[in-house]
Symmetry: D3
């Protein structure tokens, strides 16, 4: 399935922290920068995420702000 979200950044799962409803996943990009994702715990478990997994961070363009200076 091809999806409309234009931001699909490849990285590696660094850590997964599970709460009761939400989960926090830290992803390392190739250039050393990090992306943090907050998804539901059920989603994290459904994807069976664990440290070291190759992963794609997907972000809709309308969710990206810009900062300058």
């Amino acid at each position: 399935m091809q999806i409309s979200a234009r931001n699909q950044l490849k990285g590696t799962v660094q850590s997964v922290k599970l709460g009761s409803v939400m989960a926090e996943v830290v992803v390392a990009l190739a250039d050393g920068q990090e992306i943090v994702s907050a998804i539901t715990r059920t989603s994290a478990e459904s994807l069976q995420l664990k440290s070291g997994d190759p992963i794609v961070a997907i972000i809709k363009s309308t969710e990206v702000m810009l900062g300058k200076g």
Copy 2:
């Protein structure tokens, strides 16, 4: 001002396309990947964005989905 959004990816403005209400800004990251941002035209003009500008893409963690496999 320190902001709560944990995803702040450094890059360079590649292109700015202005519509009547919205604008699309393409940002190149250091590792060669791209991020596209859709902000209001007024915001783009306020930041005086132009190709080559150093820029930070700011994304709230709750907006980041993950894809695997």
Copy 3:
């Protein structure tokens, strides 16, 4: 690729309206309800969306509000 977004509603493209930066796509679900999506024009063109296409509306759980009564 399996994605974390848990809402993936199957439907059919009813209409596509292209602006200069954004596009509006109306999707009909099987039960007769409609979903409207606002994505970038570039995404709509990249997916080559046209009326009648089978399509999946993808929505992150944290974006879904609830109304009652």
Copy 4:
């Protein structure tokens, strides 16, 4: 009050899971598809959500991605 969010899908609450800060609510649509909503626990309690309640899932158009193929 009439609201601008154009996606208002009617369904029935299937389950409510309360965490300390967030809550996950599963909604069944008439056509058998499901929508999952992650809202604050305080909101879920304020709406007194329980299984079987008629409910409306409200989604802003800019939050809807599309997948094809």
Copy 5:
């Protein structure tokens, strides 16, 4: 209908700018601060928004970032 979005700020429409797909609406709050909303043109027309209208800006809690210092 009672909705889960906990941020419902009362104000007055100051201006409406219509694009082909999107619209930008500026809302003045009672304390003099402004809120800008980007919704679809179709939504703006459906609400028949015009300068001076009493209006409520509705924002899901998960969309609110914080800045300090």
Copy 6:
């Protein structure tokens, strides 16, 4: 750093509730209205948020819905 998000509402932290992954922060605006923010616990701790802190609520325009009547 100047950021593109056009909604930056000044207020005061009223309360901070920490969950395992997420945190809920209630902000009082000058006009007596409240804004609730759901951010990650890690962000809340990084900003060292506590009751009485001056704070700015930052909201991207595309996240603001409108309600009328």
